[in-house]
């Protein structure tokens, strides 16, 4: 049975980055610490360091996401790796045999790292386990988002952002607002916030967008956004996918915006120095008002900048073990 967490090796060191669930605090902190020097690399003339020189990083995107792929591509290139982008259309032959066939082929091409995006929760685990089975576990897997399960680098860059602005996690109130049910970002955020000792983690949304038993993940549930934001230090907005805006989950984007959109008057209930985060891309006027998105409390663009540094830290740490 697949009951060993494949992301840590026998010595408890990071082998792959698949989830933040159960990732030890020391490892999360060392990723955040290691990311700091990389923020400086981006600011100079030659935005490149030779850490992954000669390594081949494959971006395996079974689900399209130009934005995420680009951030990984930039991170890998700034580490001097060779980056190969593969957009694999899953709709044509949407079967696991294709997935593992692809992995076999790329392993035979002397890949060093797979950055995997997949619409099915757990797909990167299947790949990591398969690599072990075929004796290719020197190839590292970075989960770039799998189904509703996890988006660990997004969670880490969010933690980096929070640490940057708030210094300490142990006194914070963090509110995660929106479609938690379908959100891999929310799950990764919740696990990381818990591990880092945030005492008050809140999820805010209508019942249709919150998973059954979400309170078992150590969060407080709010259906009234005003209550949920009251006194918050960090407001973490989630993206609402277009296809969920009209149907059985929500009646309309307009009603959603009225009750769960982040507007200046709702934000006023949070602490005066609260920061506003969003994983992007934003739906202005659906989950967030432009006045907030472009306002002084938004740290959405710094998140993007930190995201490159955090991904560089993750990739260099994984590449270091080779």
């Amino acid at each position: 049975m697949n009951h060993d967490n494949p992301q840590l090796n026998k010595n408890g060191e990071l082998q792959h980055l698949l989830t933040l669930d159960g990732l030890p605090r020391e490892i999360i902190m060392s990723i955040l610490d290691n990311a700091a020097p990389f923020t400086e690399v981006a600011e100079r003339e030659v935005k490149k360091v030779p850490l992954l020189r000669g390594k081949s990083v494959f971006n395996l995107f079974f689900e399209n996401s130009t934005r995420t792929r680009t951030t990984f591509e930039i991170a890998a290139k700034r580490l001097s790796a060779d980056v190969i982008n593969l957009n694999i259309n899953t709709s044509s032959t949407a079967k696991g045999e294709t997935l593992l066939d692809t992995v076999d082929n790329l392993a035979a091409m002397q890949a060093d790292m797979f950055v995997v995006r997949h619409a099915s929760s757990g797909a990167p685990y299947l790949i990591a386990q398969h690599l072990r089975n075929i004796g290719a576990d020197h190839i590292r897997v970075v989960n770039a988002g799998d189904g509703r399960h996890a988006h660990p680098t997004q969670g880490l860059l969010d933690m980096y952002t929070i640490r940057h602005y708030k210094k300490d996690f142990t006194g914070l109130t963090c509110a995660i607002v929106g479609d938690v049910l379908h959100s891999r970002v929310a799950r990764s955020q919740i696990h990381a916030l818990k591990t880092l000792g945030v005492p008050d983690i809140r999820v805010v949304g209508p019942k249709t967008l919150l998973p059954t038993g979400v309170e078992h993940m150590g969060v407080r549930v709010f259906h009234d956004m005003r209550e949920g934001l009251r006194g918050a230090d960090v407001v973490m907005m989630l993206r609402l996918q277009n296809e969920r805006m009209n149907g059985a989950l929500l009646p309309s984007p307009q009603e959603y915006f009225k009750y769960y959109g982040l507007t200046p008057d709702k934000l006023e209930l949070a602490k005066p120095n609260a920061i506003v985060m969003h994983p992007g891309p934003m739906n202005r006027g659906v989950e967030i008002d432009s006045a907030v998105a472009d306002g002084g409390q938004a740290v959405i663009l710094p998140q993007v900048t930190f995201g490159i540094a955090v991904r560089m830290a993750v990739m260099s740490m994984l590449g270091a073990g080779n």
Binding site: N2, H3, P6, L100, G122, Y125, L126, T212, H216, M217
Partner: protein, 426 residues
């Protein structure tokens, strides 16, 4: 052929027998238990020292994958698995391709299964044509061809009017109706129990209410139609409570549970183990414990293997995309023994759940060692422990969540109609 099975402990739950005794078989039937019949000269002898001699197992759900899915399994491979598992009678659901909705298909299956090494096959006919839930099948014709009950496998009849009429029609002839209880809307897209684990792993959930809503519907309709209802693979405590209450209210309903739901729960998904992708999904610890208690106290009538051979292509996929199901014929006895030991259920009582009780659900004169009955016999060593490996499994389906586990009990001999269908490899 006259055979004596000597020195074993004979357990026959149907007749309340549990004693050290010899058993005599003649002309494919049980000739005597204990004392040799007069003039009996054995032509063959089986030494059952240290072993238990019990009725051959009756499995209420074994997919043989014929016709239509021969790449997943064949009658030959799965019958070898049945014999190796001590299973001598099995009911097969109608979800073949095409489904068992025409007498010719059923006759062909029965004909193909008519080999001395093969377990008795009892097809469950399709309740509606093509399992499509719209048009009734020729149930009476299908029954003549060999169907013992009618059902929809894991699909449902969405239209309640059709469902009621199908039940009424089945009830007209006294045919039992076998149904799985899962509302397809509430279960839409779901691949795991809608609980803590699915929330954490981000797997689309199947809530318990999908089972209870469906149960409420089929229990009511069965009562109105006067149909004998068998609920297959019940998965939740709440569902079990409803079956219990319905039975107390006088509704003729029986139910079974699979070996998987008896031993496993949502936590066994681990890190997206596709082996734990099952239909219905593995539920919470509390649900599993209720099913275990229900099987012990008789609320659950029978334990079945829910044998569903799935090939590697079907399993080597991300959890949500993996095909549901696991091989089980060879694990029914060991997993019954494991439950019996863990739950401290007396062996005879536990054995009844895989012999006489499922035979009663099927309305068969099987699952007993009564004198004059068919000599379907299983001889097993209760002390042996065997590890479940792909190599050992005779089923063409090598995938089960129990792979790698060491389980109690090992079948030594299986007799079907007095014919030695399985003996240990030399």
């Amino acid at each position: 052929m006259k055979i004596e099975i000597k020195n074993g402990r004979v357990i026959d739950p149907a007749n309340g027998i549990d004693k050290q005794a010899d058993l005599y078989v003649a002309d494919g039937r049980i000739a005597a238990v204990g004392r040799s019949p007069s003039g009996f000269t054995a032509e063959g002898s089986i030494d059952a020292s240290g072993c238990i001699v019990c009725p051959g197992l009756v499995d209420l759900a074994a997919r043989l994958r014929e016709p239509g899915f021969e790449y997943k399994a064949t009658l030959e491979s799965e019958m070898a698995a049945a014999a190796a598992g001590g299973v001598t009678s099995l009911a097969c659901p109608p979800d073949t391709d095409p489904p068992l909705d025409e007498p010719g298909l059923v006759e062909m299956l029965k004909h193909r299964a008519r080999l001395p090494d093969f377990a008795h096959v009892y097809p469950i006919g399709a309740l509606t044509a093509g399992l499509a839930g719209q048009r009734l099948t020729e149930m009476a014709e299908l029954a003549e061809a060999g169907c013992v009950a009618f059902g929809q496998a894991n699909t449902v009849v969405l239209n309640t009017q059709v469902l009621m009429r199908a039940m009424q029609y089945a009830a007209t002839f006294g045919f039992p109706v076998w149904l799985a209880a899962q509302d397809p809307y509430l279960a839409a897209g779901g691949v795991a129990h809608d609980g803590e684990v699915a929330a954490r792993l981000g797997l689309p959930g199947v809530p318990v209410v999908a089972e209870t809503i469906a149960l409420a519907t089929i229990l009511h309709l069965a009562q109105v139609a006067g149909a004998r209802l068998h609920v297959t693979r019940i998965s939740s405590a709440a569902g079990l409570d409803m079956v219990h209450a319905a039975r107390r209210a006088g509704i003729a309903v029986t139910c079974d549970v699979s070996v998987h739901h008896l031993h496993l729960c949502e936590n066994d998904i681990g890190y997206f183990d596709p082996h734990a992708r099952l239909d219905p999904p593995l539920r919470s610890v509390a649900d599993r414990d209720a099913l275990r208690a229900g099987l012990a106290d008789g609320t659950v009538d029978a334990l079945c293997s829910d044998h569903t051979p799935v090939d590697d292509d079907g399993k080597q996929a991300p959890f949500s995309e993996a095909e549901a199901g696991a091989t089980g014929l060879e694990l029914l006895l060991p997993l019954m023994l494991k439950w019996s030991a863990e739950a401290k259920v007396p062996l005879a009582q536990a054995l009844a759940r895989v012999t006489s009780e499922p035979a009663r659900v099927l309305g068969l004169e099987a699952g007993t060692l009564g004198v004059g009955r068919a000599a379907d016999i299983c001889v097993f060593d209760p002390e042996a422990r065997t590890r479940v490996t792909r190599q050992r499994l005779k089923s063409q389906g090598k995938n089960t969540p129990f792979l790698g586990q060491e389980l109690p009990g090992e079948v030594r001999y299986t007799l079907i109609d007095g014919h030695l269908a399985y003996s240990p490899p030399l």
